[in-house]
Amino acid sequence: MVCGCAHAGHGGGAGLASPSDDAALYVNPAALAGVKKFDFTGIAANIEGSTDVYTNYATDIAAFSNFTTSSIDAVMGQDIYARAEVTPTLIAPNMAGGIYVDGQAGIVARNEQLPQITLMNQVTYGMQFGYGTSLLGRKALRNPKMDFRVGAAVKFGWRRGGTSQLDLTDLLNLESNYSSYLYPVPQFGIGVDLGMQFINNFSKMMSLSWGLTYQDVGNTAYGSADAQPQNVSTGVSFTYKVPGVTATVAYDIRHLTDDADFMKKNHVGLAVKIPLIDLYAGVYQTSITYGASVDLWLFNISVATYSEEQGTYAFQDPENRWVARIGVKIGI
C-alpha cells in the first residue's frame, strides 16, 4: 500500500529486487539486510494526481462545489485521482521503522446511459517496522560476491473508507447519500510483509539481484473499511557501475497470484544515477514512464509520470498520472 509513490513512476515502478535503502521497508524488507548506515528521512512527502485532475480542474471544481447528479456527468470519461503520502522513516543496519499517512481520493465515471461509478476515498495511517538479515551470515562477509537475504515487516494502522462501486440504487440516491461516502469511520488493522533477496556481485562493476515479496500476507483487514489485498511479486535487476554513473535495469512481475491480464503485471525500468541527478525511464504495465530526481543538499526532489491501467485488459483504459516527491534526508 505504502509504495513511496515516486517509486511507481520511476523506471516503470520496477526494482523490488534492489530497492533503495529508504524504500526497502515498504518495497522489500529483505533489502534492509544490506543497509549499512543510519539515515533519517524526516519528510518524505509524495503528491500524486491524474492528468485529468489538473487539465479539468476548473470545470470539475465548479461541478462539485454544489453536488447534484449532473456533477457526475461533468467528470464522465475522466479519471480523477489524487494521492498524498507522508512517510518519515528511520533506517538502521538491518532494520527500519516508519510512520505513514496515506490519503487517496478519486472518481471514475463511465457509461452515460447507466453510469458505472467508482468512488475512492481512503485514508490509511500507522506505523511499520521491518527487519532484514542475511542467511549466509559470515559466509557473506567472507564472500561479498553473493548474499541471500530475508526480511519481514509488520504494520499497525488505521484505515477509513475505500473504494465503492455504485449500483443503480446507489446512483438514484446519490444526491441525498453522497456525504456517507465522504466520512467513513477509521478501522484498525495489522499486516505483515515478507521479502527475499538474492544478490550476485559478478564484479565491482556488475551485480544481479532477484527478489520475491509477499505483501499483506493473507490480506490486511481493516474492519469494515477496505482490506488491503495480498500481493505476491517477484523481480530481477541488473546493475552496472562505472565511476560517476550507476545504471540499473529492473523487471518486476507484480500481483503474481491475481487473475489479471499478465501484461498489466509487468514493470520494466531503467535508472541512471549520476552525481546529484537520477534519470528514470521504463514501462509501467504497458505505458511508458519517465522521471528525474535531483539532490539539493539535504533535499531530494523527484518528478515522474506513469499510467495506471483501469481496464481489465492492457491498453483498454490507461490513466495518466504525475507524481512528485520531496524528501529531507539526514545521515546519522
Binding site: T68, T69, S70, I72, D73, M76, G77, A109, R110, N111, E112, Q113, L114, P115, Q116, D167, L168, T169, L171, L172, N173, L174, E175, S176, N177, N200, F202, L208, V236, F238, Y251, I253, D259, A260, D261, F262, M263, N266, V268, Q310, G311, T312, Y313, A314, Q316, D317
Partner: protein
Amino acid sequence: MTCGPNKGRLRVAFCALALLVLSSCGSALMDGSTPESKQAVLDAVNIALSTGQCAKAISIIEPVYNSKYSDNDIRLSRATAQVCAAHLDFFSLLGNIAENASDLTGGLFWNLLTQLFPSNVQTIDPTDRVLEGAENSMDALMSIINVGQVLVPTYEVDATGFNPISLIYSDRSNDANAYMTFVSMAAIGSFQSRYGAPDSTNNYKRTKLLPWTTATASGMSTDGCQYASSLVNFVDSMGVLSTTYTGAGASSIQTLLKTFQQGIYLACEIGCHNLPGVSTTGTAITSWVPAGCPNLAASLPTLDPTTISTTGLPDDLCSTCPLLLRNRSACTGLADDPASCAAAALISFINYEPLLGWTLP
C-alpha cells in the same frame, strides 16, 4: 544473438526475461468465455458509452449477448448500449424529470417524453434508431432474471434462447426493473414523436391521434402492440423504482406512479373487456370506442362508468391487464386476442383521457 547456456548466466537471465515478456503478448479474448474476458467486454462497452460511441458499444456487446456466455451483467450492458441509440443520458433524464415536476401530474408528461426523445420513421430519416434502440434495450432488461427464479412457461419468451424473457416483472432484478422505467420512457417518447406529429412550437402537443385504437387496426401487431407494451412495462417497473428510489427526485417518481399506474392498468382492463372508455374520474368518454373484441365481451355484464372507475372490473380472464401484453410481439391483431384488445384501449387512453392523455393542441 543466441540463447545458449554457454553464453553465461547473464545471457540466460536475459533470455528467460525475454521469453516471459513475449509469452504475455497473446491476443486478449473479448468473447465473454472467461470472467476476465467478460469484465473486459463490460469495460469496453462502458468506455465507449462514456464518449457516445453507441455503434462501437453495440458491436462489442452483441456477439456476447447472442452467445452462450450471456449473463445478467452482459444483458444490462446490452441494455445500456442499445439505449445509447435512443440518446438516453441517465443523469440528464433524471434532471429533466426533476426540473419538470409540474408536468408529471397529468397529460403534459407525454409532451415531455416526446420532447426528450425525438424520433422519425426510417422513411424520413433512415439513420434514426431511437425507438429500435429503446425496444432492444427493454428486451435485454426483461431477460435479467433473479438468480434461482423459477419461470412460468406461459409468460416466458424465447425460453430456449440465450436470453429468455420473463413477462412477470417480479421475476426480474430490482435494478433491471428500475432501469426499465427510464428506458420505457424513451420508447414511449419516440413512438409519440414518430406517430403523433408533435408540434415543437407548441410544447410538443400532438397534432394527430395515435392509430391502433381497435384490436384489428393496421399495425396493431407491430407498432401498436409495442407502444402499448411500453406503457404497461413503464408502470410495472415504476412500481419497483418507487420502492428503491429515495433520492432528491424520488417524489417525482412517486407522483408519476400515483398519477399513471392506476389509469393505465384500468384502461388495459377496459380494452380487454371490450368496454367503452371511461375517465379516471368516472366520466364516460364517447370518442373512446370499444376495442372491437365482441367475443371477449360476450360473457361480461354491462357496467356503468362510475362503477368501473371506483370498484374496477369483475374477476375473469381480464381482471388484470393481460401479462402477455408485456411482450411487444404478443399481439395478433385479431378481435379475440386479449393483448390486442387491451393495447387498443391503451392507445385510446392516450388519445382521449382528458386529464392523463397526451394533450391536444
